[in-house]
């Protein structure tokens, strides 16, 4: 009997370890609400999660990029400016690792938004991308109205940071990499200056890429 209990304990311990380390799902951040619909005469309650709203920016090639370009894609968003002397080089170094891991994945994108659009024009962003060694359409450097960039950063992308931290404001300047799933829901935020967190991000992207494609509803 004792042996049996001991054995069960080991199995339980193993199972709990496994569910902690090899987590197969990531949390969904942002606000949520329950919506009740009538399906086939029965009322069904569904949870509707906060998603990244419509946006339109211009990338380093001068192409217009909107939320539609990210339909069905897993992507990482961050906020930077090309002349930033402090944390940005460290962020770029780490984002290059993410880029190297997924640059050939058709369902993956990186969106780096400049928060200094006055200086970071399209040609400046192109030159920056070239010097970083980034080509192709996996990693876009986006430019738009400053207030649009700040608004989407604070209200949409950085919800995970707001939720997890008691610190007030200034998130945009803190170098977060925000992970967004195929349904445009925020699934994680990682310190882009910390190599360990970026390794976790690289692992979590794989998890999200394995999630089923969203239904092609509105």
């Amino acid at each position: 009997m004792r042996k049996l209990v001991f054995g069960l304990l080991i199995i339980a311990a193993y199972a709990s370890c496994k569910s902690n380390n090899g987590k197969s799902t990531l949390p969904i951040y942002g606000s949520r609400k329950a919506v009740t619909k009538i399906v086939d005469g029965k009322s069904v309650t569904d949870t509707v999660y906060q998603t990244i709203p419509q946006f339109r920016f211009v990338n380093q090639y001068g192409d217009s990029i909107s939320n539609k370009n990210l339909d069905g894609k897993v992507y990482v968003a961050d906020f930077f400016f090309t002349t930033c002397p402090s944390i940005c080089p460290q962020m770029a170094r780490n984002m290059l690792k993410v880029f190297a891991a997924y640059k050939n994945s058709a369902d993956f994108r990186i969106l780096s938004h400049t928060i200094d659009p006055k200086h970071d024009s399209v040609p400046v962003l192109k030159k920056y991308a070239d010097k970083l060694g980034v080509n192709g359409n996996t990693w876009w450097f986006l430019q738009g109205k400053k207030e649009d960039t700040y608004s989407i950063a604070e209200n949409s992308y950085l919800v995970a940071v707001k939720q997890d931290s008691s610190a007030a404001g200034g998130y945009v300047h803190q170098g977060y990499f925000v992970l967004v799933d195929k349904q445009k829901r925020v699934r994680g935020a990682y310190d882009g200056t910390e190599a360990k967190q970026v390794d976790q991000l690289i692992a979590d992207i794989k998890t999200l890429l394995a999630e089923p494609d969203p239904k092609t509803t509105p």
Binding site: L96, K131, L132
Partner: protein, 141 residues
């Protein structure tokens, strides 16, 4: 008798060895102090851009492992750190033309961080003293 002789020989050898080691550590002690202080300065003031391994960042920020460049520009390194750098430079056969910001460091700190850089990332260029840095700083362009 033979036994005693052996002991005497061994202890003489040990004493000589000790003397040599301590002499060496007198000169290398200063180097070690410079190097370890320099490592800390590097981490707080240089690492964000040049990286913890001194590898730089693609074609934006140069690596610090070009010993030929470091040797050739030995006397202007202090000025570069103190007042920053503008214009085109050539490192490891690659061209860089971004601005490097100035670092408000004292001559001693500059000497320490150059000593660290000059003996890390594959460089082996020895110590740069505070006196040398002070002399170099007088000739900044």
């Amino acid at each position: 008798m033979r036994y005693i002789r052996t002991i005497a020989a061994v202890s003489t050898l040990a004493i000589i060895t000790l003397l040599i080691v301590s002499c060496e550590s007198n000169t290398s002690l200063e180097f070690k102090r410079y190097y370890s202080e320099g490592a800390e300065i590097y981490q707080t003031r240089c690492q964000n851009c040049h990286g913890n391994d001194g590898a730089g960042l693609s074609a934006l920020i140069p690596a610090l492992n070009d010993s030929t460049f470091l040797k050739k520009n030995k006397n202007s390194l202090a000025c570069t750190i103190r007042y920053g750098l503008k214009g085109v430079i050539n490192i490891n056969g690659k061209t860089f033309d971004e601005n490097m910001p100035a670092a408000e460091l004292a001559p001693m700190e500059i000497a320490q961080v150059i000593t660290y850089m000059n003996n890390s990332f594959g460089n082996q260029l020895g110590i740069v003293t505070m006196d040398e840095v002070e002399a170099d700083l007088k000739n900044c362009k």
